[in-house]
Amino acid sequence: MAKTSKAVRFDPADIKEELLKKYPPKVARKRAKQIMINEAQESETPPEIVANVRTIPGIITMRGCTYAGCKGVIMGPTRDILNITHGPIGCGFYSWLTRRNQTDAGETGENYMTYCFSTDMQDQDIIFGGEKKLTAAIQEAYDLFHPKGICIFATCPVGLIGDDIHAVARKMKEKLGDCNVFAFSCEGYKGVSQSAGHHIANNQVFTHLVGENQTPPEGEYKINLLGEYNIGGDGFEIDRVLRKCGITNIATFSGNSTYAQFASAQHADLSAVMCHRSINYVADMLETKYGIPWIKVNFIGAEATAKSLRKIGQYFGDKALLDRIEAVIAEEMPEVLAVAADVKTRTQGKTAMLFVGGSRAHHYNELFQEMGMKTLSAGYEFGHRDDYEGREVIPHLTVDADSRNIEEIEVEPDEKLFRARKTPEEIKALEDAGYTFKHYDGLNADMDKGSIIIDDLNQYEAEKLVELLKPDIFCAGIKEKFSIQKLGVPMKQLHSYDSGGPYAGFKGAINFYKEIDRLVNSRVWSYLKAPWQENPELTATFVWE
């Protein structure tokens, strides 16, 4: 075993000071507001964290861009929409990542995830405009593949030269007739992180797709699963559990999703939100326009999964469903608990750091708790204040210039399709029984007192944190992986799962326990020094007799 478990004692204020010490004064002042010591939870005014603000130029950030959030995260996992990146070749090429958003199109289904489509703009397109090339590219894509839908994504130069991609999309939709074409103004410079891209993507899916399919899908207890991306097959496991309980998942936004799923989302009776950051506004819009209430759920962690299933069951309030959910939990949990009990003998008391996503850091905290591990420090790459402090702060969020660039769409109840799923009395009865609709407490509430919450962590701070607090495991993305590991600390990717997974649901929890056990107890971390480096003085005293 590489390390023995240890009680970590540190003064968070000292750590914060140490992180800020090297910065130029202006940078230090800004970063000071993004590094928060989680210690005033019981007081009336919990400490604020500054989030969703610009990245500091020159500081090596973990963040990506709006295009990455839009094309990669939200639209990438939809198998039967053909995505064309309008721009020079790079952006399209880099978002060609395919199977981490797993899908099964069956023998005859459509699947474009393994393809990369781009208009590959050249300098003459930048000078004279790229609309003609885009029009031709859509036509060529249609002629070759005849997809149900084609989506267009704008890259940085497209916004600068002013190509009207939405006009091109409208024109081509009309011309093609049987193919839905729509576009996303998701230039990389918009917003301050990939979060802006999620917002732009979701708005367009809501506007151009949701509600299209008028025929209600078959099934009982219909829900939408929002903010689940089927990384490493998470969505498959969640769907397995839901099916077993008799719950019908109409649409997953957007892991393993299809055109038809989005188009039918208005038929669900409840929206269950996983990643609050990426999609809470869609949940609100679904409620306003179609009357579908929403709840926050979490399928990362076995306990969290059980809790979320019960919450869904309680909403429908049907005894048959509630009994079935309890039966499923009773059937699935013994194996989970057995593995946890075994793993816990080796993980109890170990420490972790989590810097990933805009909800993931929170969700994975649950799994670490189940293994008896403690999260010393956590934060989001692209979270907003409400993801840290809970939805209560939403009315108090200031809208700055960068947020104002991202369209907020106003929706009203749909004349034909709005149908209140619950009467006000039913809602009230549930709430009186302790049920919470559209409620999210944020990450801070689940973090220990004195832990350090850091927004938009960067490479320098990551390295310092690891040096100072020596966690047993660090979780982030591929860019961070190897610099952390060079320090002798295992690094688990929680965007791509290091090609592992699924980690959601019951089977996912088992996978995760085993994976973390493997990582924190790997022997490799004990090989970092050669014997002659460990005890160099011995070489001088060695005498052959």
């Binding site: 790079g90 489509f117 781009s118 590959d120 940085c156 600068l160 410079y189 190897f482 970092l528």
Partner: protein, 457 residues
């Protein structure tokens, strides 16, 4: 079927690129910059570019790739990126303390017309560049050329640091082109074996292949130093390996600093390595030692021993021009048949070179520059091949069409070894052969009926 929608019928496309055989300039510039000692690459544009390039390089090399970005938002895109870059330069030198910042542009900063040299001047005037530290810059808009062009542009910017003293220093510059850290190390080993003092730039060996020790060095020990780059103008000659990757820098040194240059193919395979060694000894005026002849003879020996398994094999390959040219020549020298060759990188001479290499051989080569892997897959669907050679993105074709894939080029996302084991030089040739033979013989063992299943091959 992973690429189930790809039809065999080839339709002409004018606007839509599908499954590109190239990517954009900045990632090449970033890789080249990592080959300077103490250098932090910097991407001048919005932060997504930098994130993508760092991810791509990290996934390929499985090593930390640090690089900073100007993190443009809409304001910078409208008013220009000067303020962001000045702030970035100040922050980088204060926080990370590199010796060099190598800035490359992006689509965004090029389109709005940011002038790197003017901003560098301002940064120096304002005292944002510490004593002894260097700023290097290269224009790399992504709507021109490809990642290969970006690499070449940054290498040229490195050459432009040359400050000739007027006195020759007896060294030879070798510009190795976009090859793996192990290849750069192998080129240095061969030069040392021949007895020629060299400056290799860029040099990512010792940067992107560092040991695991419990210590993280943001700036590892490897890389060509700025002092060495300054002295490159005093070299007795330059060997540029690869017309696309390396020639620009070499010709600049020739024109501006009177360092005569020879542009050679990258030394992959027997003949290209022969020419490399031959030119190297001529430029340096030395005799090639027997040890080099032994390595060469070993490669020739393996070729003769295994010829029956290589002869007549049809190969489809894609990637970067310089690598493809050398590889095609190697394949032809083994009596193999590179029948489909595709690069996404533009360059008229490419198709001509490949045609020349394959001229007078008993097969016809379909070769295309500025093309994509979708087209190549369609060709394969019409008439199959025995082997694929290219990056990891070929694994979809490999699986769908049941053809073995030799991973070679950039990026390799799903296999190890490429960073550590060179494929240049005679020993690199041995490794390429070993890998090819493994694929062919594994396939033979898999497919042979029990009656003809052989123990000895």
């Amino acid at each position: 079927m992973l690429l189930r929608h790809t039809p065999a019928e080839v339709a002409d496309r004018k606007a839509l690129a599908i499954n590109p055989a190239k990517t954009c300039q900045p990632v090449g510039a970033m890789y080249a910059a990592l080959g300077i000692h103490g250098c932090l690459p910097h991407s001048h544009g919005s932060q997504g570019c930098c994130a993508y390039h760092r991810s791509a390089l990290t996934r390929h090399y499985k090593e930390p790739v640090s690089a900073a970005t100007s993190s443009f938002t809409e304001g910078a895109s409208v008013f220009g990126g000067q303020a962001n870059l000045l702030q970035a330069i100040n922050n980088i030198f204060t926080v990370y303390e590199p010796e060099v910042i190598a800035v490359h542009t992006t689509c965004l900063s090029e389109t709005i017309g940011d002038d790197l040299n003017q901003i560098f001047e301002k940064a120096r005037r304002e005292g944002k560049v510490p004593e002894g530290c260097t700023l290097v810059g290269a224009p790399t808009p992504s709507y021109v050329g490809s990642h290969v062009t970006g690499f070449s542009n940054m290498v040229k910017a490195m050459a432009q640091l040359a400050e000739p003293s007027g006195k020759k220093n007896g060294k030879v510059n070798i510009i190795p082109g976009w090859v793996e850290p192990a290849d750069m190390a192998e080129i240095k080993r061969l030069a040392a074996l021949v007895g020629v003092p060299v400056t290799v730039f860029p040099d990512t060996s010792g940067v992107l292949d560092t040991p695991l020790t419990g210590e993280y060095k943001m700036f590892p020990d490897g890389g060509v130093t700025v002092m060495e780059l300054k002295a490159s103008g005093d070299a007795i000659g330059t060997l540029a390996l690869g017309e696309w990757c390396s020639a620009d820098a070499a010709r600049w040194l020739d024109a501006k600093c009177k360092v005569p240059c020879t542009v050679l193919d990258m030394p992959f395979g027997l003949a290209a390595t022969d020419r490399f060694i031959d030119v190297l000894r001529t430029v340096a005026g030395v005799t090639v030692p027997e040890a080099v002849a032994v390595e060469r003879g070993q490669l020739v020996d393996l070729i003769s021993d295994m010829h029956q398994y290589l002869y007549g094999k049809r190969v489809a390959l894609w990637g970067d021009p310089d690598q493809l040219i050398a590889m095609c020549e190697f394949l032809v020298s083994l009596d193999m048949q590179p029948v489909y060759v595709v690069t996404g990188t533009p360059g008229k001479k490419f198709e001509e070179r490949i045609q020349n290499i394959c001229a007078d051989r008993p097969f016809e080569v379909k070769v295309r520059a500025k093309a994509d892997m979708f087209l190549m897959h369609q060709w394969i669907k019409n008439e199959p091949v025995d082997l694929l050679i290219g990056n990891s993105y070929g694994k979809y074709i490999a699986r769908d069409e049941d053809i073995p894939l030799l991973r070679w080029g950039f990026p390799i996302l799903d296999r190890q070894g490429h960073q550590y084991f060179p494929t240049v030089g005679y020993r690199g040739g041995l490794r390429l052969l070993e890998k090819m033979l493994d694929l062919f013989l594994e396939r033979k063992d898999r497919d042979d009926p029990e009656t003809t299943f052989e123990l000895v091959l």
